[in-house]
Amino acid sequence: MSTQKTVNGSPVNGNLQAKDFASDQEVRWCPGCGDYTILKQVQTLMPKLGVDPEQIVFIAGIGCSSRFPYYMNTFGIHGIHGRAPAIATGLKITRPELSVWVVTGDGDALSIGGNHIIHLLRKNLDINVLLFNNEIYGLTKGQYSPTSPQGHVTKTSPDGSVDNPFNPLSLAMGANGSFLARAMDRDPKHLQSMLERAAGHTGTSFLEIYQNCIVFNDGAFSPYTDKSVRDETSLYLEDGQPLLFGKDDAFGLRLDGFRPEIVDLNSGKWSRDDLWIHDERDRNKAWLLSSLFDDNTSKGKLPRPFGVFLAEERPTYEQMIQDQISASIEKHGKGKLEDLLTGEDTWTVK
């Protein structure tokens, strides 16, 4: 019935549904690719935005992940490799009222596109960045990326990559990002809530999504997704709540000075009151959280946090520009072309 409600694929106002946001294009990812879940969750989110599809724009670079815009029944640009943040910046500055989304991959955003991402983050335009991190170059068939772990054997690193990987959230912190969060394809419910939070934040939302590339990097995130281990390895952040993890929240994190340490809540030695309480507005704690980045394949290691690390309100770039425009109109009035062309010093020839 939603088809009746739509004209040329663009639904009219009224209660839209996820499927109204699916384009007519056949989705072309490998069977089992994590991108499918993310697509589904984003389409599920769309109606909650409460804006018409034509007010929404998805902008991507190049990569498997970057094919995303083709599958959304909104406006979209499949740009060039790494430049989506810059394309989005030009659009958002000139059309601040639009809901602008950037979909990018670990190579697109952090390798060739690194400069644009960090500049977007510091400028803080109200754009939602979804970084599909599969720790590999998927589209080009399996070379290591800036997030591939050191020693990772790929087509271009037969002896193991010597690159020390980026920690995307730490990099984003260093670039002064105002909203930083992490989710994963294998936990759609949590992903959905993170997408909502990202959409809700005014300013650049940076959401890193662990995404499994089943063909070229299968299981990269199994330490956090495998039922058998994930309780011990992943920690879900809740604003104002203590940092708990493990089966039945048996463990917690406390801070001894600056050193986060794992405590066993059943040991009787520690209670929840001793734990590190999460505060989304604390940049310094957010830094500590982002640096919980050890490899988690071995036991007893610090867990990997998921959730909102930092959510800080700060004026958006486009708003400040709009204010300057109004101010300048205030001051000079709407410019008169004649005055401008004439300038200060003229003479007349008879």
């Binding site: 959304m72 740009g79 810059a86 659009l91 009222e97 000079h332 010093d345």
Partner: protein, 618 residues
């Protein structure tokens, strides 16, 4: 002894001194007065390299040249009749520009031991004597002493007084060329409205310089240059970069089409970004991007949103934009790329001029990526060409490359103000919304009109949501298509669309001479002035030479081929190694003679004239 009054048809004066000597201001004041006196004129500032070099050194010399006359003037002049030097370094750097037997007005105070050594003259050298010896007329004035003398009662500190030296010299020159002082006096009153004491001092120095020239009979001759035949109207002086700024503002204001400039500073294009950044109330938004790639891609994003995206840079920056220009040709969105060329390759000579990015403009992209290419011929011409570039970009949904260069970007000339109602607004013609129910047919973003132009459907418009990208697209739906025949078709379409622009531009006019004959000179861009002067000089000498100057480079005007056919010889002067020559040869299979110099400076009129006469007489 009595002073001889002489009439002159044209005069070139070069002011030179230390960056601190206020040379540019002196020059611009002489320019306004000259303009008001009805002369035609052309000026060029000759700044030192990018940053301030030590005072008194040759590297620190700042120059300003003005060429004016009672006849039409097209260039700032190769060589000058009068050279004003405030110190030794200025002489060292500029003597080569003075005509044999020309006049040097020298501030003797700038020729002390220290000045000479800073200017790297040998201790035993005395340049002023040497200049006299080599037949120049040298007028020596201790400007510092005289100015201090003139202003000793103002009670101003010496430092402040010395800042009026340039006005004293200007006074002398006003006398020498029989100019009124009032416009400069008015200017000084305006400029120092808040500091009347300073205004007074400068005005006094100006007057005293004038009277000093009379009293001391500095000169044996005095000159008058009558008004030139200039078509009536209101004029202002303008540089190329400023004219571009105004052209863009005109598009925004006149068409109600929002303009977005994404740019990254670079010499000699920075003034465009700078100028537009204070025109927010004219509907222009500027964005200083992190690099050239962000600059152009942000402009593409803005164009997708319904603004006219523009990006400005110079050669090296435009090279970085190559990939993104390719994207724009695929997206078929309006985009204007301004390339203020400089001497290359690579960093080259950033402050010097060259025309060597023409082939980059034509071919500097991966794949078959056709764009339109235009060029401006003079500072004032930049206004109209910029407007044209924007019109073509919007009406044909295509990237347009506009080429200017450092010479016209910084050079200035009188510009007759356009009649604003005459300027035709540009219609973005956005695709209309498709309301519920009405017209069930799906929106086809790549369905073209008779000129092969696709619709501009912008976000926020109901019923036309669509996705575009750099992958080859189906010729109607715009969806990804790997179909071989579709790729062939789309490749031809993009090319044909660019070529069809020829139906919407004026035919090529002759600038000088007949439609056929012995020699045709073909020019483009900033060489207009030099070529025009050389050709008209040659014609005055009775040579059968014609001249066309191309504004539209790709596509060419439809009648260009037939014009070329009409001549025995074709000469193409360029400040490069023959780039337009290559294109003309390839397109029309005719032999072309090149006149090519790459010295970072405008073409020499006399050299070029010799070449023309040679070709006309063989």
């Amino acid at each position: 002894m009595s002073i001889v009054e002489k009439q002159k048809k044209e005069v070139t004066i070069r002011f030179a001194g230390d960056s601190g000597d206020g040379i540019q201001l002196t020059g611009s004041q002489f320019t306004s007065t000259t303009a008001l006196s009805g002369n035609d004129l052309s000026t060029f500032p000759d700044y030192p390299a990018e940053i301030r070099a030590p005072a008194g050194t040759v590297a620190g010399v700042s120059g300003f040249q003005i060429h004016f006359g009672s006849k039409a003037i097209y260039t700032p002049g190769d060589m000058c009749d009068v050279l004003v030097v405030m110190n030794a370094a200025a002489l060292k750097a500029n003597l080569k520009f003075l005509k044999p037997g020309g006049i040097i007005i020298a501030n003797t105070d700038g020729f002390g031991k220290k000045d000479l050594s800073l200017a790297k003259y040998a201790p035993n050298e005395s340049p002023i004597q040497d200049a006299k010896a080599s037949g120049y007329i040298v007028i020596e004035i201790d400007v510092t002493k005289m100015t201090r003398e003139s202003l000793k009662d103002t009670g101003l500190p010496v430092k402040a007084i010395d800042r009026s030296k340039n006005m004293f010299v200007l006074g002398v020159l006003y006398w020498l060329f029989s100019r009124p002082l009032d416009s400069t006096i008015q200017f000084l009153k305006r400029k120092f409205a808040k500091k009347p004491q300073i205004a007074e001092a400068n005005i006094k120095a100006l007057n005293d310089g004038f009277t000093y020239a009379i009293a001391t009979e500095l000169f044996s001759e005095r000159y008058t240059v009558d008004a030139a035949p200039i078509d009536p109207g209101k004029y202002r002086n303008i540089t190329g970069n400023d004219a571009i700024v105004l052209g863009i503002a005109a598009v925004a204001k006149n068409s109600g089409l929002p303009v977005f400039l994404g740019s990254y500073p670079i010499t000699p294009a920075s003034e465009i970004l700078q100028g537009l950044s204070s025109l927010k109330h004219y509907g222009v938004t500027t964005f200083q991007a992190e690099d050239e790639i962000a600059a152009i891609t942000s402009a593409i994003g803005a164009s997708f949103g319904g603004s006219l995206g523009i990006t400005s840079s110079s050669g090296p920056g435009v090279a970085l934009k190559s990939e993104a220009i390719g994207l724009a040709t695929m997206l078929e969105l309006p985009l204007v790329i301004l390339n203020v060329q400089r001497a290359g390759p690579s960093t080259g000579l950033p402050t010097k001029t060259e025309q060597s990015d023409l082939l980059q403009a034509f071919y500097g992209r991966a794949g078959e990526a056709p764009v339109a290419v235009l060029s401006a011929s003079s500072p004032a011409d930049c206004f109209e060409v910029t407007y044209e570039a924007c019109r073509i970009a919007v009406e044909h949904m295509i990237p347009v490359m506009l080429l200017t260069d450092g010479y016209i970007a910084n050079g200035a000339e009188p510009w007759k103000l356009p009649d604003i109602p005459e300027i035709k607004p540009i219609d973005p013609g956005y695709e209309k919304a498709r309301e519920n129910g009405q017209d069930g047919a799906p929106f086809l973003p790549y369905k073209r009109d008779e000129n092969l132009v696709r619709p501009w459907a912008i976000p926020g418009t109901k019923g036309v949501a669509h996705r575009i990208g750099g992958l080859e697209k189906d010729h109607e739906t715009g969806n990804i298509s790997y179909d071989p025949d579709n790729h062939q078709m789309m490749t031809e379409m993009r090319e044909k669309k660019r070529d069809l622009i020829a139906d919407f531009i004026p035919g090529q006019q002759m600038d000088e001479g007949n439609e056929s004959g012995k020699l045709l000179v073909v020019g483009w861009g900033s060489t207009y002035g030099s070529i025009k002067s050389a050709v008209s000089d040659a014609r005055d000498e009775g040579h059968d030479v014609s001249f066309i100057h191309l504004r539209y480079l790709n596509p060419f005007p439809k009648n260009l081929g037939s014009i070329l056919q009409g001549f025995d010889k074709v000469l193409v002067p360029e400040i490069n190694r023959g780039q337009l020559s290559k294109i003309l040869k390839e397109k029309y299979l005719i032999p072309v003679e090149g006149f090519n110099r790459v010295k970072g400076i405008p073409l020499s009129v006399s050299e070029l004239k010799d070449k023309i006469t040679e070709l006309c007489t063989t």
